[in-house]
């Protein structure tokens, strides 16, 4: 349907432009024209975010564009979310590989550039991200994850002297009997896969693109685990 294409194109352009007003209007228009909400999500919003992500990786776009796109996505998601839920329900609960993430730079560490990029890219990929900022005590990270019923906890640390707090987080989750409830991913320039494994986290990624892939993988794994345990 040529008409549907035009609506999707508008949504995509608004996301690439990082224009939150335009993305809200375009999303609403598309919904009113009966375009499938899943198509709006995948072929409009995500397609636009993809372009922005690629331009960022290639050094054509910079952080402000990424942040503006994050805003534009948020505005559109607020409108589309209820319709998506209905749509997922129709499909028998077959949700996309996204979920709720709590992100933070851990206690005593104020390096947030990498964490912000990861958070923006996760948002751009349809995750609902609760970014707690920097220097966040692990208790608060866990409490927020419980409160918002997160699927994933993402911790960032750039200092070898703050990385131990990520281990504390995993240990505390275990002690609280909550380890199975959340997937934990860790990251930062000094974080290696060996470190992630040693502290009992579920994975790490070297950059934001890989972080999104990791998050999607973890969400799938979590859904399978839940599926298995229910059966």
């Amino acid at each position: 349907m040529a008409n549907e294409q035009t609506y999707l194109e508008e949504v995509k352009l608004a996301i690439i432009d990082g224009d939150d007003k335009a993305s809200a209007v375009a999303t609403r228009d598309a919904l009113q024209a009966d375009v499938d909400p899943l198509a709006i999500l995948n072929d409009g919003l995500m397609a636009g975010a993809d372009v922005v992500g690629q331009r960022f990786e290639r050094g054509i776009f910079f952080l402000p564009q990424l942040m503006l796109t994050g805003r534009a996505l948020k505005a559109a998601m607020a409108i589309i979310e209820p319709r998506l839920q209905e749509r997922y329900a129709e499909d028998g609960g077959n949700k996309a590989d996204t979920g709720v993430v709590v992100m933070a730079t851990v206690k005593t560490d104020i390096h947030d550039i990498g964490k912000n990029i990861v958070a923006s890219m996760l948002t751009a990929s349809g995750f609902q991200v609760h970014d707690l900022g920097v220097d966040v005590p692990i208790k608060r990270i866990i409490a927020t994850a419980q409160e918002v019923n997160a699927n994933l906890i993402g911790c960032s640390a750039l200092l070898t002297t703050s990385m131990p707090f990520m281990r504390d987080l995993v240990d505390l989750l275990v002690a609280m009997g909550e380890r199975q409830r959340f997937k934990v991913m860790v990251g930062g320039a000094s974080v290696t896969p060996e470190f992630a494994e040693k502290i009992g986290a579920d994975g790490t990624a070297q950059n934001a693109v890989k972080a999104v892939q990791l998050a999607q993988r973890l969400i799938r794994a979590q859904r399978e685990q839940i599926g298995v345990s229910v059966r």
Partner: protein, 459 residues
Amino acid sequence: MILSYLDIIDRANNGPYISEDNWDLEKVAMTTMKIVEKYDLAWNPEEIVTDDPGLADTIFDAGLELAQTLGAYSRSTERIIEFEPGELELGMRLMPQTLVMGEGKDARTLYARRIMDERLPLVWAGNPGAPHPEELFVPAVLSWAQEPIVDMITCGTLVEVDGREVRTEDPIEIISTRRELQYLRQILRQVGRPGMGMLAAQSSVSELGDLATAHPDYLRPCDAHLVPMLNELKMDNRNVARAVNSLEYGMRNASLPCVIVGGLGGDAPGSAVVNVASFIISNLTCLSDYHLCHPIHMLHVATTTRSVLWVENIVQQAFARNAPCIIVSDIYPKSGACTRELLYETAANAIVITVSGGHLEGCGSADGNAPNGTGLEARLMGEVGHAVARQGVSLQEANALVLTLLEKYEHVFEMPNGNPGARIDQAYELQTMRPVPQWEQMYKEVKTELREMGLVTLT
């Protein structure tokens, strides 16, 4: 009279509220974007060292306008620290033009350098902040402290003490920072230069370590410590505490805004504008005695990418022409010890810094993220800087040299795991404290190449 620091604390407590997100996007990113448009700022990746005084002046004006428009942000109170234009200007007029580092026969005087200054840049050796296991800390620092060309030293951080993991804001931070300083003082005595100046307390991540070492047995008043600014144009009470701590003690404050090129300022020109604004603001918020110029690349970290080299070049020229002050520029190469690329990166960066008006600090080899830095690249950094000044290399000649060197190392930014090279204990014979033969050989070969390229006075 310059503002009392109490006024700054008052303003941080009482200034207008704004959320951090809005500061980042609405204030810093948007205002910078507008200013870049207004002044029509652009850069040319083939002109890393610029010979365009008008551009340097415009970048300066744009940065001053940004500083006047925005002020600074306190992350602790979520308020804007506002400044009157006159206060910023007074701050600039009072920037030290000379600064003695160290004491006695080992003292050296930093000074505000000019563009193409024929006076030698000072050589500040070390890989600031790079994490080290305890057993590698002394060999690493010794490797550069023993180099005669070195004027001042700095160091990495201790990851563990006595086999115990160091954690920030834990009592062990006090121990690790004091341990760092004990080692440094011991090394200075060992190389026979006990009075040499230092930039240290790198192991102080919170303010704890910094407070614990403000004592003549550790950091002397003739030494320097970091007062970082957060990205972009932000302070927090931790870093305010560092500045306040040295008010009476009199340690040298080094402001450290690590402007992210490709970050909130956008591309290189906007990032240069943010860097200029950060230095102007840091005169007041960090009480800086001198400025550390350390822009980093958003994706590659290193200071040796084209865009970051360009920013270092234009920021130094902007100040040299409009508000002379002491700028020490960091060299943070992508590559680590025992790689030829590390030497090319170091040479290129040293050329840019020296010719455009800075002193040399480095090298934070392997992104400053591993104990893979050695005295040999610090030696090369100094030798190249000295040759550039001695020979009177022009801006255009410097640009040609840098472009040639970029061709030899730029591929490292495409390497998926970087180019970290070898640890200090693999790059040096620790018994003799000499570089291993293949590392020394590489150094000799690269020097020959540099001479052939035109750095004929390279000793």
